[in-house]
Subunit: 111 residues, 2 copies
């Protein structure tokens, strides 16, 4: 037996979580929402709608879009987006650690 859980940030609906974090991490690396979505087996339009929804709920932009130009456009994570990502990383680690500890306290096999 083990603990199962899902955790997310909520503001009248899911505003951020593991999936969005992973998507942004890939955008940061690939500088392209299109490629990031592709890597996650998500259609571009779904990824785009997801980002729109998250931005509305968060109240700030996650991506800066560069349209056209010699490099054919692309996306970058905004500084607010990066700040959220690093907070979320630390939050996520504390959640994992905290929940395992609480689980062990109540259901640990050696008690």
């Amino acid at each position: 037996m083990k603990i199962g859980y899902k955790v997310w940030l909520d503001n009248h609906g899911k505003a951020f979580g593991d999936g969005p974090y992973e998507l942004l991490r890939r955008v940061e690396k690939l500088l392209s929402l299109h490629q990031a979505a592709n890597q996650m087996g998500m259609s571009y339009s779904k990824a785009w709608r997801l980002i729109q929804t998250l931005e509305e709920r968060l109240g700030f932009a996650l991506l800066e879009r560069k349209v056209g130009g010699p490099s054919g456009g692309g996306s970058r994570v905004t500084s607010q987006g990066k700040d959220l990502m690093s907070r979320y990383e630390r939050f996520r680690k504390d959640v994992e650690k905290g929940l395992l500890k609480i689980y062990d306290k109540h259901f640990g096999p050696r008690k």
Copy 2:
């Protein structure tokens, strides 16, 4: 903004969580899985299958079924089921408290 989460006990699938806890709490009170399911807007057959699945994953019986007799049968929570319920209650409280604290640490509005 706030934290959103779901938590459960897992053993090759969901073995216990808020829904099952609530169902057992009602069985304890009503001494009937039928009535407990009804109160939760769940069909009896769905509740019965749920209990079967949980018992398989937990490895012990949650309900004792009394078939027929003058009172027309009924269900009671086993002592192992009651023990699980009280552990789960304490676990659940610690989870709520722990997660709010972790959320506040990273996303609290007054930091």
